[in-house]
C-alpha cells in the first residue's frame, strides 16, 4: 500500500520515510556529539563534546571535528586546535563555520581545509560571547552573537563581514531563555524571550515589546522559539507547555496547543510550513494548526534539520525525512480518490495485467486525460524510490498515448531530473534532495555542489546528459578539477602539467591563467609557468607572467598578441623594475617593442628618443631626431650646435648629401640672423626660397644675389622667384629690366603669367610679342585675346591648340566658336 506510512494530521497527511541507513551505524553515538547539518541534503558535522561525556569536569583534551555526508560516510576529520567553540554551522556555500567564545569565526571548507577567519567585533572579543546563531540572510549566510553583556552583534554575509549592532532589550540582566534571528524584507531582527516578555530588536536601534494574541490568560515564560525555513513563521514554547504558532511579526496566530509538559524540548522546529515538531529525548511530537497531532518514538537520540519542504531526522542508524504528503501524491494515492491521476494510475496497473478494466478507467477520465498525465508526472517527482517513480512515469506515458497534442517537455524534463536526483541521492554521493528542493536550489548550483565534493566525473556526466553548453558545464568543471589537481603536492609537476593539458587543451573556454594562479598560490611556480603557456588569452596571461617575474616570456606573449596596451604594460613594468642597461638589452632584439617604446619616448621627450637610438647606434635616426629637436631650441648657439652634431652623425654613416644639407642649413641660419640684424626683419625659419623672395620684395637685390651665388640656386628657380616677387611688389620697371638682362630660361610666357596673376594686362602685353610661337597661343588666351589665339593656332596648324582655345570661348560668343570650329574642319580636311 502506498499510503501505509501516511499519518493524518487534520485534513493533510504526513509521511516519514527512510532515506539512508547510516554508514556510521555502530560507530557514532549522536548523544555524545554536537551536530550541525547543512540544508538541501548537505553534509553533517559532528563535534565530539567532552562536556557531554563528563559534565562539569573540564578537560584539556582538544575536541575532534568530523564531517560526514548525509549517508554517514566520513569525509574528513581533524582535531580542533583553536579556541572554545560556541557554535558550529554551515553556510549556503557549504562552508563550515565555527564561532568561538571570543567572537572569532573560523571558516573551513567541507573537507576541513582552513579558508579564512574574521571577528565579530571588539566587544565580543573583550567580554566573550554567550551564544551564537547562524542564519540565512538575503545576502548569503549571516552570523549573530550574543555577548555576555547581552548585546547582539551580527553580520549578514560571511563573504564580506560588516558588523551590525542590534538594539538592546530593556533591562536585560540575565541570560534570556531563548532568542533567534528573523529575516524579513531585507531587515534582520532578533526575537528575544526575556521571562514572560517577548521583544523584537532591529538594526535601526528600535525595540518592540510583543504580546502575541492567545486564547489563554497566562502562558508563562517563553522557553524556546523557532523560525521557519522561509522566515515567515514562528513557533513559541512557554513554561506552561503551551505551543504558539503564528506569523513571524507575531501579529497573526495560526494555532495553539497544550503539551501538558513544562519541560523545554531539546529541539523545536518547523516541518515545512504546515506543522511544528518538538523533540523530547526519544519522543517526537508533530503539531498541526488545528490542534491535531502525531507522535513518533525513536530508539535513539536524533537530530532535526528543517528543509524547505520538510524535516530531516538524523539518527544513529537511520536518516529519515518527514514531510507533508504532497497534494498531487495525495490525489493519486489517497484511498478512494476519484482524481484523474488516480484513475490513470489504476488504468495503467490493469493494463499491465492485460485486463480490460484499463479501458473502463480510461473512459472515465477521457475528458481530463491531460490533467491525469500531468498529475502522474508531478507525483513521480515526489517519490524517493525508483520503482514508484517508474510506475508513475509509466502511467503518464500510457496516458500520453491517447493524447494527440500533448507537449512532451514536461515528461522528458521530469525523467531527466529524476535520473539526476537518483544519482545524487546514491549513498556514495549522499545528497538526499527532493524534487522541490532541487527546484529551489537550481541545477547549476547542484553541479557546483558536486564540484565542491570533488565529484568531477559525476558532474561532467550530468552536464553531458543534460546537454549543458561546454562553457558553463564541462569546461568549467574541468577547470575546477585542474585547480584541485595542482594542489596535490605529491604529484610530480611535469606529470601534472601533462595530465592537465591533455584533458583541457581540447576544451574551449578553459581559463588556464586561473589554474596557473592557483598553482602559484600553492607555491608551484614551474607548474604555473607551464600551465600559463596554454592560456590563449594574452590579456590574462601576461599580467600573471609579470607577477611571476617571467619577464622575457611576458614581453614575447604581449607582442604576439598585437595588443599595444599589453606591450606597454610590460614595457613600463620592465623599465621601472630593471637596470636601464638590462632593459635596453631586452628590447634591443624586439623591433616591435622597441618601436613602441620609441613612440612612448616621442611623447615624453625627444632627448629620450635620441638616447634609445644611441643604444642602437643608429646614427641616421639620431641625426633626424636631432634635426626635429633643434626647432624647439630658442637660442641660436644651441640650435647650431645640435645641427652640427646631426651633421656629424650623417658623416658617420656616409650620407654625404644629408651632411651637406645640414651644413648649408647652418650657413643659411647664420645669414638669416645677420640679415635680421641688418634689416630689422625676421628671416629665421624661412626656407632659402622664401628668404630670397622676401629680400626681392624688400628691394634688397644685392643681398638676394649674394645668397643665390652662395647656395648655387638653379637658374630657372631664381628667375621664377624673381619674376613673381617683382610682379608682387609691383616693380614693373625692374621686371622689364630683368626680362632683358638675358634670354629668360623660363620663357617670356612666364612674364605674361606673373603680370596677369596680378591683373596687369598692360604690362603683360609688353612681353607678348617676345613669346615664342610655340607658347604664344596659351599666352594669348591668358591675356584674353581669344581671336588672336585662334589665328595663331591656325597658323601653327595645331588642332589641339584650336580645341584648347575653343574650350575657353564663352558660350555667348557664338560667332568666334563657329569660326574656330570651321578652322578645325579646314585643318582636318587638308590632311
Amino acid at each position: 500500500m502506498a499510503t501505509a506510512d501516511w499519518n493524518p494530521l487534520g485534513e493533510t497527511y504526513y509521511r516519514k520515510c527512510e532515506i539512508y541507513s547510516m554508514e556510521w551505524a555502530g560507530l557514532v553515538d549522536l548523544s555524545k556529539f554536537t551536530v550541525a547539518a547543512a540544508a538541501y541534503g548537505g553534509p553533517i558535522a559532528l563535534l565530539k563534546d567532552e562536556n557531554k561525556l563528563n559534565r562539569g569536569a573540564t578537560t584539556n583534551i582538544k575536541p575532534v571535528v568530523s564531517v560526514y555526508n548525509a549517508a554517514g560516510r566520513l569525509l574528513s576529520q581533524i582535531r580542533w586546535s583553536s579556541g572554545r567553540i560556541m557554535k558550529m554551522g554551515w553556510t549556503i556555500m557549504e562552508d563550515l563555520l565555527f564561532v568561538q567564545d571570543d567572537g572569532v569565526v573560523l571558516v573551513y571548507d567541507m573537507f576541513l581545509g582552513f579558508k579564512r577567519t574574521f571577528s565579530m567585533g571588539q566587544e565580543a572579543k573583550d567580554v566573550k560571547i554567550l551564544d551564537a546563531r547562524i542564519f540565512t540572510s538575503f545576502q548569503g549566510t549571516g552570523v549573530a552573537v550574543m555577548t555576555t553583556s547581552f548585546r547582539i552583534f551580527l553580520i549578514t554575509n560571511t563573504e564580506s563581514p560588516r558588523i551590525i549592532r542590534l538594539a538592546e532589550v530593556p533591562d536585560l540582566n540575565a541570560v534570556p531563555n531563548c532568542w533567534d534571528i528573523v529575516v524579513m524584507d531585507r531587515q534582520v531582527r532578533a526575537l528575544v524571550g526575556k521571562g514572560s516578555e517577548l521583544y523584537i530588536v532591529d538594526q535601526g536601534g528600535q525595540y518592540q515589546k510583543q504580546d502575541p494574541k492567545t486564547e489563554k490568560e497566562e502562558i508563562g515564560d517563553y522557553l524556546d522559539l523557532a523560525v521557519s525555513f522561509n522566515n515567515k513563521f514562528v513557533v513559541l514554547f512557554t513554561g506552561k507547555g503551551h505551543i504558539w504558532m503564528g506569523s513571524s511579526d507575531l501579529l497573526n496566530c495560526f494555532g495553539e496547543f497544550e503539551t501538558k509538559t513544562a519541560a523545554k524540548p531539546q529541539q523545536l522546529a518547523w516541518c515545512g510550513n504546515g506543522a511544528v515538531v518538538a523533540l523530547w529525548d526519544r519522543f517526537l511530537l508533530v503539531v498541526g494548526p488545528q490542534k491535531y497531532w502525531i507522535k513518533f518514538n525513536f530508539e535513539c537520540p536524533v537530530y532535526l534539520l528543517p528543509e524547505v519542504d520538510g524535516l530531516r531526522i538524523i539518527g544513529n542508524e537511520q536518516h529519515e525525512f518527514l514531510q507533508r504528503v504532497p497534494p498531487v501524491t495525495e490525489q493519486i494515492f489517497k484511498i478512494g480518490s476519484m482524481e484523474p491521476g488516480a484513475m490513470l494510475y489504476e488504468a495503467n496497473r490493469e493494463y499491465q495485467k492485460q485486463h480490460q478494466k484499463a479501458d473502463e478507467y480510461l473512459r472515465m477520465i477521457k475528458e481530463r486525460l491531460d490533467v491525469a498525465v500531468n498529475q502522474c508526472i508531478q507525483a513521480a517527482g515526489h517519490e524517493f524510490e525508483a520503482s514508484k517513480q517508474k510506475q508513475l512515469l509509466r502511467a503518464a506515458s500510457f496516458g500520453k498515448c491517447f493524447l494527440t497534442d500533448f507537449r512532451p517537455e514536461s515528461f522528458v524534463n521530469m525523467s531527466q531530473m529524476l535520473r539526476v536526483l537518483n544519482q545524487v541521492r546514491h549513498h556514495t554521493v549522499g545528497i538526499p534532495l527532493t524534487y522541490t528542493q532541487l527546484e529551489h536550489l537550481s541545477m547549476p548550483v547542484l553541479i557546483d555542489r558536486l564540484v565542491l565534493r570533488k565529484l568531477f566525473g559525476l558532474a561532467i556526466l550530468i552536464c553531458q546528459y543534460l546537454k549543458i553548453p561546454d562553457a558553463e558545464g564541462q569546461s568549467r568543471i574541468m577547470a575546477h578539477w585542474a585547480c584541485y589537481k595542482v594542489q596535490q603536492k605529491h604529484v610530480d609537476e611535469e606529470q601534472l602539467a601533462r595530465v592537465i593539458s591533455q584533458k583541457l587543451l581540447e576544451r574551449p573556454g578553459v581559463s588556464f591563467s586561473e589554474i596557473a594562479s592557483v598553482a602559484l598560490e600553492h607555491g608551484r611556480r614551474q607548474l604555473a609557468v607551464k600551465l600559463l603557456d596554454y592560456e590563449p588569452r594574452a590579456s590574462e596571461q601576461v599580467p600573471l607572467l609579470l607577477k611571476m617575474g617571467q619577464l622575457q616570456p611576458s614581453l614575447n606573449k604581449a607582442i604576439e598578441s598585437g595588443d599595444t596596451d599589453l606591450v606597454y604594460t610590460v614595457l613600463l613594468h620592465l623599465r621601472d623594475n630593471q637596470e636601464p642597461s638590462q632593459f635596453y638589452m631586452m628590447i634591443h632584439t624586439m623591433p616591435i617593442a622597441f618601436s613602441l617604446f620609441i613612440q612612448y619616448c616621442r611623447h615624453q621627450n625627444l632627448v629620450l628618443v635620441e638616447k634609445m637610438w644611441e643604444q642602437e647606434d643608429n646614427q641616421a635616426e639620431i641625426a633626424y631626431t636631432k634635426i626635429v629637436r633643434s626647432y624647439g631650441e630658442d637660442t641660436m648657439d644651441i640650435r647650431t650646435k645640435i645641427l652640427e652634431e646631426s651633421s656629424h652623425c650623417f658623416h658617420r654613416v656616409g650620407n654625404i648629401f644629408a651632411e651637406k644639407q645640414v651644413e648649408e642649413q647652418i650657413k643659411l641660419l647664420k645669414h638669416q640672423r645677420k640679415l635680421e640684424d641688418e634689416m630689422g626683419l625676421s628671416f629665421v625659419d624661412m626656407s632659402l626660397q622664401q628668404t630670397l623672395h622676401k629680400l626681392t620684395l624688400e628691394g634688397a637685390h644685392m643681398a638676394a644675389d649674394k645668397l643665390r651665388k652662395e647656395f648655387k640656386v638653379p637658374d630657372k628657380r631664381w628667375w621664377w622667384m624673381r619674376a613673381m616677387a617683382l610682379a608682387e611688389s609691383g616693380d614693373w620697371a625692374e621686371l622689364e629690366k630683368f626680362s632683358k638682362s638675358k634670354k629668360p630660361p623660363i620663357g617670356m610666357e612666364a612674364f605674361v603669367d606673373v603680370c596677369m596673376k596680378h591683373h596687369n594686362k598692360q604690362e603683360a602685353l609688353k612681353y607678348l610679342s617676345r613669346v615664342l610661337p610655340d607658347h604664344k597661343v596659351k599666352a594669348l588666351v591668358k591675356v584674353g585675346q581669344l581671336r588672336e589665339a585662334a589665328e595663331q593656332a591656325a597658323e601653327n596648324k595645331n588642332e589641339d591648340e584650336l580645341i584648347y582655345v575653343l574650350g575657353k570661348v564663352k558660350v555667348a560668343d557664338k560667332q568666334l566658336a563657329d569660326n574656330i570650329r570651321q578652322k578645325i574642319e579646314q585643318l582636318g580636311s587638308r590632311r
Binding site: 599595444t564 613612440q599 626656407s687
Partner: protein, 608 residues
Amino acid sequence: MATGAAHLSSSKLNLGLLRDFYRREFLECIDKCLGTKAIVWDDGLTGPFGLIAEYSLLKDHEVEKMFPLRTGSLPPSNVQNIVFLTRPRLELMEKIAQNLHHEETKGGYKKEFHLIFVPRKSLLCERKLKEKGVYGSFSTVEEFNMTLIPFDADLLSMEMNDAFKECYLENDFTSMYYAAQSLMTLQALYGTIQYIHGKGDCAKQVVDMMRRMRDEMGGREPQVLPQIDTLLILDRTVDLLTPLLYQLTYEGLIDEIFGINNTSIKLPAERLGPQPSQEGVESKKVILNSADTLFAELRDKNFNAVGSIVSKKAKLITAEFGERHAAKTIGEMKQFVSKLPHLQATRQSLATHTSIAELVKECTDADDFIDALRCQQEFINGLETDKVHPLVEECIAKSEKLSKVLRLICIQSICNDGLKPKVMDFYKREIIQTYGFEHIVTLNNLEKVGMLRPHGARTYQVIRKSLKLIVEEVNEQNPTDIAYVYSGYAPLSVRLAQYLARPGWRSITEVLNLLPGPKVEEVQQIPAALRKRRSSISSSQSSTGEQKLTLIFFLGGVTFAEIAALRFLAQQDDGGTDYVVATTNLMSGERMMDHLAQNVETVTLNPF
C-alpha cells in the same frame, strides 16, 4: 530600423545592423551616468558619431549640452554629469586634465565626471591622467568599442587617419589590432568568413591576430549564418601608386578638390544656386551619400560623363514638372501631387550637383591641373621618368603646393623603379631650399615607406604589363574596364581583387611575388549547421543563384576612385562577386602626403 540610415541597409550586407549595434552600445554606455549630462567631444569623434547617433537621440537620453574638447576651461553649464568622449591620445589627455583642473577650482555645484575612450582604454593615457592628478576625479572610466563606422551601404571606415603613418613609418601596429578586432565584431554580426586572402606584412599581422582572437573566444563562435564569403585584406604598401594619382571620378575629384570629411563637404555658399541662404554664412555643408539617389548615380562616373547625365536628368525633371499642365482630372492631379515631394527633392539635388560639378570643372580645366595630369599620365606610361621632369622643376620654382610636388616625384620614383641618385638629389635639394630644411625629414619619411627610393630592380613595367594596368582607349561614358576611374590606368589594388574573384590568384603568382609583403591564405572552418547550402548542379535555379560577397579591407587607406572601381566590378555580370569595402581611413594622395610631411613647431629664436 533606426532613423536617418535607410541607405545603409540597401545593399547585400545590411550595415544598418552594425549601426544599430553601435547605437545600442553607445546609449547603454552613456545611460550609465544618471541625470542630465554634457558631452565633451574630441574633434576627431564628432564626425563619426554623427553617423551613428543624431543629436535628438542624445537629447532623449538627457544630453543637454555638447562641447568640443578645448584647452582651458569648460563653458558653464548646470548639468549633473560631464562625459568626456575621447580617442586614447596623450595630447587630448592634457586638455582633459586642464578642463578638470578648471572645473575643480570653480567649485559650486558638484558635478560627476566620466571618461569614455573610443575605441579602447589605453594604459598610457590613464597613466598620463594619473600623473596630472585628475584620474581619481572620474566616477567612471569606460571604453566604447566602435572601430568600423558604417559610411554607406557598402563602405566602412575606421577613420584612423594616422594608420598608414603609424604602421609603415613608426612600426606601431595598434590600428592593426583594432582592425582585427573590428573584423571579429563584423563576424559576430554577419557570421564567420570562410575564405581569407591577404597581401602585405600588415595583412599577415591582422590575419594572425584574428586567429588568436578566435582561439581566445574559446569556441564561442558566432551562431550566425555566414553572409560574407571571402575576406581580402590588402596593405596600402602593395599599391602605393594608385592613391598618388588624381582620382577622376566625380566623388574622387570632389575629394581631391574639397576634401570629403565623414561623408560631407563644405562649399562656398554663394556658389550653391539661388536657394535661400542665410546672411553671413560663407560655407554650406553638403552631405554626400547614397541616400541622395542622384549622387548615388553620379559618384562613381568618370567626371567627363557627369555633364551629360546631369543634363539628361534636368530634362527629365522638367518634363515631369510639366505633367501638371497635362493633369486634367482630380485623380491625375492627386497623382502628381503625391510625386511632388520626390520631384522637389530631386530638383534640389540636381541644383546642388550642377553647382558642384561647375566648381569641379573650373579646377579640372585649369592649366596647372591639366599639366599635372598629363605629367602623371606620362609617368605611369613609363615616359620621361629617368630624368628631372621640367614640370616638377617648374612647380617647385613657382612654390606650388608641396603635396602636389611630392605626389609627382613619388609617382616618378615608383614608375621608374626608383630615381637615379642625380635626379633624387636634385629634387631633394630643390625641395629643401624651397619649402624649408625640415622637409629633409619628410623626404626621409617617404623613403622609409617606400614611396621614394633609389634606383633598384625593374619591376614596374612587368607588373604594369601583366596586370594590364594601362588601358588604351577608355570609354569614359560607358566603361568596360575599371581603368575608367583614372582615365586609362586601372588601380593595381582593384586589379588584385578582380583577379582573386576570377580566375584566382594562382594565375598571377609571379606578379604577386614582385609586390612587397607576404601572401596570406586561410580557411576558417564553419560549423556544418551554418554552412550555405549550395544548390545542386541538377537544379535549374543554380545559374541565377545568389552572388557571392567579398569584404575587402584596405589597411592604410583607400581612395574613392578605388571604391568606384570595385562598385563597377560588382555591377558586371561576369564579376562573380559583390563587394563591401572596409578601410582604416578614406584617403587621397594629398592627405597621405600631409600626414607624412614633417611639421615642426618652431620656437621663435631668442633675439639675444
